[in-house]
């Protein structure tokens, strides 16, 4: 049974239960408008949904009932006993059909003509013969009785089964059950607990309250854990409390979780309609529908997501003719993808349309006076894209039915930010646009690292945290470099801009202490930087407490929390800090994507990018040939003639030392050797630094179509590929067990090289 039907059943059964209650009350107050309206609603809801689900028997029956109830509600008829009995009969009939649907997904066989006619007759005020009605009521009673009996009989074996399963204790409790709830006409024994019995509707405010209480419990647990750290007798108890609290928290959170398919499911229809309306061909792909998200968050993203889908259909995907002209499939693809990443759920709306032209955005923003000329000049392309989130912005030349009224992206962003989420946009002209909603899994509890700056504690959400670097006082002095007044740190050969938390928070100048520090490498919304902090404490699950609006204006804190030790800590907002520190969007992400797409396009080879000598040129090693990277002591290098060699477990490894690193005495005692495969032998290459792994693309020589050998295009730089075959074969018997290079390839390489030189 699909989700929709299940929900329908639960809803309808609830409606019918309500109807039953109301009908009995109606006998006492036949003119109570509210009761009548309530009954009408129940039947109306069933009718509405059944038509949609294609249950025609239910639809006809409820339609007839609705007509009669409509007249009652409007006061054209007054409910008498006969009408009420008929309605109760209708109720039983509806229940029977629902039961049948639940059992085998079909409405079952049955003739409703008599019922419908009776409802009809009552509508026209024709009193059905009293005798008949009595008879009918009787027969209903008899039917109900026999049903109960049958049900009771049929239930018996099931009960004994369940009693066995549940143990003897449960049996007396289970016994009176069948009598208490007569099951109306169940044709088969129910193997499963019915949908309505196994689920429960709970008021969302109650759930919110539970969540808050659990949050408080987590706080208390944290405090107890810290307080009982030292007490041996108490430790097992508090550990147990810890576990129970965690489980409880998870359970409460799970209660609130719903798969995103609840929201996704309406898009196929929406996209189909939009495509028709716009004369476009759009193919919708849904991915990760089972990803779960907090119910309230799911509700909150419904509208923003719908808006994004509309936008993509309307502005993103081009007309079929335009697509064909651009060499694309005339049918555009819209991909909705949901997935979890750490403590966030990401929902992507990606189209392969025309992308957003940055110039257009700039012009529009200027035209609408949303930004000044001077400011525009300073913005990078990615930052220009962000302009579409400004209020009152719309690039559509003409306002269409579908979108383009200027209320759009800013509302999307506001709604998403309200729930602590982010909207990211990526667009490449001609290739398409991806909008990404980054939604926190839950609102209340986040894993965070407690850091300190000037002896004040702050909570740093772990979502943005990538790694931690510890610097000793010595390293702090030497390894933090300054470019004018911008502090930088070389992280694996790349410069990482640094932000001193104490300076950002104006906690007073450095007292020039001889202390080490930590660099928290953060990536917040594509802004990559290192946050310099004084110290680290434990990671903790923190409960986010909102800050008063008066303090929100500071902008660097996303809330406050109570830590395990009972102290308060402000929660840092890594993205806001980045923006305040004017950290630009790093190109890295785009680069990686470019490379990824390049790799897909040309199947480019992956290379290990190394620096062969201190400060000298970079070189590339084909990654497929790299076996391992070794750190060795300089003293281990020996020589055979003039060829440096290394001994590994009794085998010799010839070394290539192109930049004379071996002879450079200024180098540290340890050095890096990359062990590669060359043909069937192994060789080593000394390098100063390993920089990165990157995909190279082949370069062809001007004028010829021949691929230039020995070089590759890495990161937009022509890079030499180390020719492994040039490494001399060890003389004499040493080379014996390791066969030399196969002559063929060398010859070819040599030829190509000769060509390249020409």
């Amino acid at each position: 049974m699909d989700e929709l039907t299940r929900e329908f059943l639960i809803e309808s059964q609830e409606g019918l239960d309500r109807m039953e209650r109301c009908l009995t009350e109606l006998e006492e107050r036949p003119q109570d408008g509210e009761l009548l309206a309530d009954i009408f609603r129940s039947v109306h809801t069933i009718k509405g949904t059944t038509g949609f689900l294609g249950y025609s028997r239910l639809e006809k029956l409820s339609h007839a009932g609705e007509n009669l109830l409509g007249m009652l509600r409007d006061g054209k008829l007054v409910a008498n006993e006969e009408i009420i009995s008929t309605l109760l009969q209708l109720l039983d009939d509806l229940r029977a059909i629902l039961q049948s649907i639940e059992n085998d997904n079909s409405e079952g066989q049955g003739d409703d003509h008599a019922m419908i006619e009776r409802l009809h007759a009552l509508q026209h005020g024709e009193a059905v013969a009293v005798a008949e009605s009595v008879e009918l009521v009787e027969s209903v009673e008899i039917a109900a009785e026999t049903k109960t009996k049958k049900a009771g009989k049929r239930r018996a074996p099931a009960r004994s089964n369940s009693a066995e399963a549940a143990g003897s204790e449960a049996a007396p409790e289970a016994a009176p059950k069948p009598a208490a709830e007569p099951v109306a006409g169940v044709p088969q024994q129910r193997a499963q607990v019915s949908a309505a019995d196994s689920t429960l509707r709970v008021d969302i405010t109650l759930l919110n309250q539970m969540m808050n209480l659990v949050g408080e419990l987590v706080l208390t647990r944290n405090q107890i854990l810290q307080a009982t750290n030292t007490d041996v007798a108490f430790a097992p108890l508090s550990r147990r409390l810890d576990m129970v609290t965690s489980d409880l928290r998870e359970a409460v959170m799970k209660v609130r979780m719903q798969p995103v398919s609840h929201v996704f499911s309406k898009f196929p229809r929406l996209v189909r309609d939009l495509a028709q309306q716009l004369d476009k061909q759009i193919h919708l792909e849904l991915e990760g529908q089972e990803t779960e998200l907090d119910k309230s968050l799911l509700e909150a993203i419904k509208d923003p997501l719908t808006h994004l889908v509309r936008n993509s259909c309307d502005h993103g995907i081009e007309m079929p003719a335009a697509r064909e002209a651009a060499g694309k499939n005339p049918a555009g693809t819209l991909r909705l993808r949901a997935y979890q990443e750490g403590s966030h759920v990401l929902i992507e709306v990606a189209d392969d349309g025309g992308g957003i032209r940055v110039e257009k955005i700039r012009d529009k923003a200027l035209e609408r006076k949303l930004i000044t000329q001077e400011k525009v000049a300073q913005l990078s392309e990615r930052e220009l894209l962000q302009l579409i989130f400004l209020p009152g912005f719309s690039t559509a030349a003409a306002v269409t039915n579908v979108s383009g009224r200027g209320v759009g992206m800013d509302v999307v962003r506001n709604n998403v930010e309200k729930i602590g989420g982010k909207v990211e946009i990526e667009s490449r002209p001609g290739k398409g646009t991806t909008l990404r909603l980054r939604i926190p899994l839950t609102l209340a509890i986040v894993p965070a690292l407690i850091v300190s700056s000037r002896s004040q504690s702050f909570a740093l959400p772990q979502g943005a945290l990538f790694e931690l670097v510890h610097l000793t006082p010595e390293e702090r002095r030497t390894q933090i470099e300054w470019l004018e007044n911008a502090p930088l740190y070389r992280l694996r050969g790349k410069l990482l801009p640094l932000v001193y938390l104490s300076r950002m928070l104006e906690q007073g100048e450095d007292p020039e202490v001889e202390a080490g520090c930590y660099i928290a490498v953060l990536n917040a919304d594509g802004r990559r930087y290192g946050l310099v902090i004084d110290g680290l404490a434990d990671p903790e699950e923190i409960v986010v407490k909102p800050l008063s609006s008066a303090l929100k204006e500071i902008g660097l804190f996303s809330g406050a929390t109570l830590m395990g030790n009972g102290e308060m800590a402000l929660i840092l907002d890594p993205a806001a800090i980045a923006v305040r520190a004017e950290i630009g969007l790093s190109e890295e992400e785009e680069e990686e994507q470019d490379q990824a797409s390049a790799a897909l396009a040309s199947e480019g080879e992956e290379f290990l990018l190394v620096e062969t000598g201190e400060g000298t040129a970079q070189a590339a090693l084909p990654l497929s040939e790299v076996l391992r990277i070794e750190r060795i002591e300089r003293g281990r290098v020996e020589h055979i003639g003039r060829t440096p060699v290394l001994r590994f477990d009794g085998v010799l490894l010839p070394l290539e030392d192109s930049s004379g690193l071996l002879d450079d005495v200024s180098q540290a005692a340890e050095m890096t050797v990359i062990v590669c495969r060359e043909g069937t032998r192994h060789v080593g290459i000394t390098v100063a630094h390993v920089l990165d792994v990157a995909t190279g693309s082949a370069l062809s020589e001007a004028g010829t179509n021949a691929v230039a050998a020995g070089v590759t295009l890495l990161r937009e730089r022509v890079t030499e590929v180390v020719n492994l075959s040039r490494i001399p074969v060890l003389p004499g018997p040493a080379a014996g067990p390791i066969p030399g290079p196969i002559p063929g390839p060398i010859a070819i390489t040599a030829e190509l090289e000769a060509e390249a030189c020409r």
Binding site: Q456, E506, K545, S549, L551, F557, E567, L570
Partner: protein, 153 residues
């Protein structure tokens, strides 16, 4: 809610004021407006916050901004931990840090006078008038005037 209206209602019965001291001045806060009085709670400073914010205080599972009356009056930091009164503001609860909380005094509307014209503008905006006690003056404080949402403007 206007204070004058309240006065009219209470008329001759007198108003109960919680007396608090900040620096050398005696202040009074209508007792009906106080939710709770916390004795010397731990405060946590908020970097970059407006100067009137004396820190954050934990109060029944919530984190409240505490308004420092000392800073508002330009008195500089208190050497000792301050007491805090909790009020309901326009954006949730907030606290008011004072040097010390004293006894509850009953004042009479007939002893009320508006702020003297010689008071500086800052104080005029914060004080809600003065009650003449037998031996000294009691400056009336109205929590509505001390709401952080109002002060932040």
């Amino acid at each position: 809610m206007s204070l004058t209206l309240e006065h009219a209602h209470i008329a001759e019965a007198g108003i109960e004021m919680c007396s608090v001291r900040v620096g050398e001045t005696l202040f009074g806060v209508p007792i009906t407006k106080i939710l709770e009085i916390l004795g010397a709670p731990a405060t946590r400073p908020v970097p970059l916050a407006p100067s009137f914010v004396g820190g954050l205080v934990h109060y029944r599972g919530e984190v409240l901004p505490a308004v420092s009356l000392r800073s508002l009056l330009g008195l500089g930091d208190s050497p000792e931990r301050q007491d805090m009164l909790v009020f309901r503001g326009t954006d949730g609860y907030f606290g008011l840090l004072v040097d010390a909380v004293g006894e509850v005094l009953t004042v009479h509307p007939r002893d009320y006078e508006t702020n003297p014209s010689t008071l500086d503008d800052r104080r005029k905006a914060l004080f809600a008038g003065t009650y003449k006690l037998a031996d000294r003056l009691l400056v009336m404080l109205d929590p509505d005037l001390l709401d952080p949402m109002r002060l932040v403007r």
